[in-house]
């Protein structure tokens, strides 16, 4: 009995803000709301409609490319930057701060800064192109470049954040290990490959999970910069859910899309706990 009481605060929070909303969402996706407010059970009809919805597929595929473009690159950048600033060097604190700045800036401000970079003709990028005698380019207005522009911005923003985790992990590693490897004649690359990187795997996994979640969570930048356009070229899953729920007021279809998002994220969690955790050395 006492044990249950001790669990109560956490249990209340989890049930109220996690478990109940999930179940409610799943239930909601099986009903539709009529004009008069009455609910009608439709079973899997919403899922069938979703499967036939080209914008849903477009958002899903966009999200896939977006994840593929941002996750490995931002992790690689984070690792390289962390190793770079982990050494004893002049102005180390300043460089660390500079890398971390994108993370502390408000997202709306970040989006506006990059909006300026990408603005046709007088934006930063086009001014640079002008120096080389190239004409203006509508970066965010062209379906072929809009996704690349978003990916670059997100990498810029996330790499510094992930760097902090790598930096913390690197400082936990004993310098003796590097020295022991050096005495055995290991090159720096060999030491990194066989010692440092495997010992950073718990951090890499943590960062990768965060990166995956973030890549499915991006909404704010889209609202400011592209609104999913042009022609849905930059629509991501959560942005589409937001549009369906609050612009089109179709909450049952939004619930259906949310279930898909939940399934995707649970699959990621399953891979982490079921497979990767067992293959990674935790100290």
């Amino acid at each position: 009995m006492n044990a249950w009481l001790l669990l109560l605060p956490a249990a209340v929070l989890l049930v109220a803000f996690t478990h109940y909303p999930i179940l409610a969402t799943i239930r909601r996706s099986l009903f539709i709301t009529k004009r008069n407010g009455a609910e009608m059970f439709v079973g899997l009809d919403s899922y069938q409609a979703m499967a036939a919805d080209p914008i849903f597929w477009k958002a899903l595929i966009n999200n896939f490319w977006f994840a593929l473009g941002t996750i490995p690159t931002s992790i690689a950048f984070a690792l390289v930057m962390a190793i770079w600033v982990n050494r004893n060097m002049r102005g180390r604190g300043f460089v660390r701060l500079a890398y971390f700045t994108p993370t502390v800036l408000p997202m709306i401000a970040v989006a506006n800064i990059w909006l300026f970079f990408y603005t046709p003709d007088y934006g930063l990028l086009d001014q640079l192109r002008g120096v080389f005698g190239l004409g203006g380019w509508n970066w965010l207005g062209d379906p072929s470049t809009v996704m690349g522009c978003l990916i670059v911005m997100v990498i810029w923003k996330e790499a510094g954040f992930f760097m902090i985790f790598y930096l913390a992990a690197l400082q936990q590693l004993s310098p003796d290990l590097d020295e022991a490897a050096a005495i055995e004649g290991a090159s720096r690359w060999y030491t990194f490959r066989r010692i440092t990187f495997p010992l950073l795997m718990p951090t890499t996994l943590f960062v990768a999970i965060n990166a995956v979640i973030n890549s499915f969570k991006l909404v704010d930048h889209l609202v400011i910069m592209t609104k999913g356009g042009p022609n849905n070229a930059s629509t991501l899953l959560l942005y589409y859910i937001y549009e369906v729920a609050f612009a089109f007021q179709d909450s049952s279809y939004a619930a259906t899309l949310t279930v898909v998002l939940l399934l995707l994220l649970s699959a990621v969690a399953l891979v982490k706990f079921g497979y990767l955790d067992r293959r990674i050395h935790y100290q």
């Binding site: 022991a180 490897a181 050096a182 005495i183 004649g185 495997p198």
Partner: protein, 341 residues
Amino acid sequence: MSAITMSHVSKCWGPMRAVDDVSLTADEGSLLVLLGPSGCGKSTTLRLIAGLEEADAGRITIGGADVTHLGPAQRKISMVFQSYALFPHLSVAENIVFGLRVRRVSRVERDERLKRVADIVGLSHLLERKPSQLSGGQRQRVALGRAIIAEARVCLMDEPLSNLDAKLRHEMRTEIRALQQRLGMTMVYVTHDQTEAMTMADRVVLMRDGRIEQNGTPEELYNRPATAFTARFVGTPPMNLVRQGDRLIGVRPEHIRIVSGADHVVRVKAVEHLGADSIVLCEFDGQSISVRLDGFSKAHPGEDITIAWEARHEHWFNPTSEARLENENAIKADRLASLGQ
């Protein structure tokens, strides 16, 4: 060809001279101990020999070759760290053969050498374990195995036993010494524990504030300490030093006897019974003196006793420079002893 020499080597950290004009030689196949209190520069000296630090001045040679500006890998040495520096994600076997894999030694030879080394250090049944699943003593053996599998002629040890309990430390001390002699390695061994130094070393280099205080055999350090610092550092309990007139007189606790009616009256403060002998801690003129007696001492704290020692057992030091002064009585006694033979 594995003798190590350092000549006039210095290393500074900012204004601090961690190693100050140190010159020493470790003969081929011998065990040299760098001894000293913490912060005396003994670890830095070892790291200079290993190439983990670069000397600001001076010259270091290993086996006759100048290695002063070479990296650690090119010096053909092995090293055991105080923390053992085992790779936590690799198994015992992988830890031991790490260096062989770096040097691309063939699989067959690797396995063969691993088997031999695992037998020597007694780890054959634990090869698949991770370091976290081993006890302190077993980890120490893995570090030892990794150091000897390279078959380097020079092995450096940085306080390798300081994380072990007393019994294990004693055991490993004997084992490391036996291994060093059996494999004929030149070993430089850093410790702050004078017992380790006295029991293992062919030669002891006692350091203080980055400088060499005394360089000699364990016997020389014990019987003819060059300074009062050495006298105080070596021996358990260390030499008694008493200020008398214009000199500092040192007498080893085992050379003091309790004799009724002798000149020096002292008060007993405490008695430590060690079994085979006892240490009686006394106070004399506000200075403390320890006396080692055979067997179980019956002295009681608070009691006044009289003590005496022979003049030939006195070591004399200059009280300001702490340097050794020649004791005519001791010299005379030695001469008499040699005449008698």
